[in-house]
């Protein structure tokens, strides 16, 4: 199978193992995002794919060729760096041409390639400028342009948007996505930002502590997080989690019982973590909901929605609610109604998701 293939990849610095055996298949033309908190090994993994770090153990194949001992330049990958890695003494055109010149591509060909890519990225007017005279977004585009001109088999992105302000980031995110759709090159993208991961990825790889927690499409991960970590990592604001004990038709949290559907009979008395996403509540009761009494702390208006910062017992929780043009009534809310179908349960000991609905 072509694409990028990691099998049992381990990275150690001396005695310290930082990546503990990663298995990942990136299909051709797929856009895979590695996401996780800082220090989780995602960048190291990416750099091992690029060849900037040696692989301690395991196999890396690109296009079915084993790459462990192949020099970076021969892996046919192109990388976009967090700080763009633009050569300050070269103008935009020369920056983009750098890799091509190194590879001794004929001059004329370089020129047309750069002209094409500059057109795609909207950099045509800036080809003569130096990086210092460009805005952050333009620099980001040049960095991508430098990768694109190479026509590599694989694009590697190392947190390319983290140096941009929020607005630009959103814009560039979309641009990257469009580019990928247009060029269809296999891409591995590292970020710590779950929104980026959600929006860009065909599949997301959530990493933590040098291990893969879960692989799946954005919606799979959002809907069925494999464990507390993934559940807490994806989604904004994060999922509310509270300890509880199962009864035969509910999870008992303190004095409150949250009704649940499913085959719980065999699990009565089991200690669980109950996960409720902020979106999965309503202010009106219905047959599919179960009430949760709260004390309102703060209402943050976001426009059409508001964030309700509230306390359930001593547990702080965040919910989303529609404003309908006025947040004043929200201050008076004293209970929310949990959509029982969407409540997630995790084993309190292992943190793994419990699927008891059969």
């Amino acid at each position: 199978m072509s694409g990028v293939n990691l099998s049992g990849i381990v990275k150690s610095y001396g005695a310290v193992q930082v990546v503990h055996g990663i298995d990942l298949d990136v299909a051709e033309k797929e856009f895979v995002v590695l996401v996780g908190p800082s220090g989780c090994g995602k960048s190291t993994t990416l750099r091992m794919i690029a060849g900037l770090e040696e692989i301690t153990a395991g196999d890396l194949t690109i296009d079915d060729k084993r790459m462990n001992r192949i020099a970076p330049k021969d892996r046919d990958v192109a990388m976009v760096f967090q700080n763009y890695a633009l050569y300050p003494h070269l103008n935009v055109a020369d920056n983009m041409a750098f890799g091509l010149r190194i590879r001794k591509m004929p001059k004329a060909e370089i020129q047309t390639t750069i002209a094409d890519v500059a057109e795609i990225l909207g950099l045509t007017d800036y080809l003569e400028r130096r990086p210092a005279d460009l805005s952050g977004g333009q620099r980001q585009r040049v960095a991508m342009g430098r990768a694109i001109v190479r026509h590599p088999k694989v694009f590697l992105f190392d947190e390319p948007l983290s140096n941009l302000d929020a607005k630009l980031r959103t814009q560039m995110r979309a641009e990257i996505k469009r580019l990928h759709n247009r060029l269809g090159v296999t891409s591995v993208y590292v970020t710590h930002d779950q929104v980026e991961a959600m929006t860009l990825a065909d599949r997301i790889v959530v990493m933590n502590d040098g291990r893969i927690e879960q692989i799946g499409t954005p919606m799979e991960l959002f809907n069925d997080p494999a464990n507390i970590f993934v559940a807490g990592f994806l989604g904004s604001p994060p999922m509310n989690m509270v300890n509880g004990v199962l009864t035969k038709n509910s999870a008992k949290i303190g004095a409150t019982e949250v009704k649940l559907n499913g085959a719980l009979a065999n699990h009565v008395g089991r200690e669980v973590v109950v996960g409720i996403r902020p979106e999965h509540v309503t202010l009106k009761a219905s047959a599919k909901t179960s009430p949760l009494p709260i004390t309102m702390d703060l209402v943050e208006p976001l426009g059409s929605e508001a964030l309700l910062h509230a306390r359930f017992g001593k547990q702080e929780m965040v919910f989303k609610a529609e404003t309908k043009g006025d947040i004043a009534p929200l201050w008076n809310v004293d209970k929310v109604h949990v959509t029982t179908d969407l409540v997630k349960l995790f084993d309190a000991q292992t943190g793994q998701a419990l699927n008891l609905r059969g």
Binding site: R47, K73, Q82
Partner: protein, 312 residues
Amino acid sequence: MADKNLPTDGRFTRLFDHFKREWQIYAMLLPTIVWFIVFLYKPMYGLQIAFKDYSIFRGVAGSPWIGIEHFQTLFGNDQFLRAVSNTIKISALNLLFGFPAPIILALMFNEILHATYKRTAQTIVYLPHFISSVIIAGIVITAFSPTLGIVNIILGWFGLDSIYFLTQPQWFRPIFVGTGIWQEAGFGSIVFLAAIAGVNPSLYESAVVDGANRWQMMWKITIPSILPTILIMLIIRIGNVMEVSFELVILLYQPATYETADVVNTWIYRQGLQSGQYDLAAAGGLFNAVVAFVLVMTANTLSRRFSRTSLW
């Protein structure tokens, strides 16, 4: 639109407030200002002796003006003119060979991956900088001695006659410039190593992924990245063109090698200070300073125009 009639605090009130608020910063500035006044500006007062018939006893103010007589003496003296030409030639050689040497050394150090080896090598090449010129001269004299010098012994292995290098005018400049490089290249490389350390490592990684080898990275990344440092150091160096390290010349030259070795400062030393002609020495020094000033200004302007790098 500012209303001119609005009452504002007076300039001095604002200045006073400013000082009151920021006095710590000015206090920190003070030692530098004092240093400049005491060691640079006050001595400038003494420069006037270049235009006077100076007597130490009568003092700067008490000595009579004699116009440009000392400068006429200088430029009427073939030895002085020769010394100017020697200074420029030695400096040019220094610039040509001595200036790139620390850069090359720094680039070489940068390519050494083994940390212990690198540290040891660096220490060894830094060492000569800390040896006094007198010792350096002793080492050079010994090394180039016609009987026991290592250089002549090596020449002997190849069946070559021994050469009394330090009395041969044609050998003085190579030996002097070479000694200077040996002594200062290591220490001079520190500033370039620092500049290299400041280069964004991802530039290299990016180049690695793009397929550049170490040589290409050195030429296309390292050198262009430290070019501003190189240019600044070059400007400073050009400003010191007239300041050939004169202790070393004094220690190494002989009347036999005056022809190539006598530089402005040694000439001033012999003619001016040794014979107590401070006024003539001051005239020579002033000439040096003016030349250096013109050179620095020129170099700075050129550098600013062509590379956007300049001292000021």
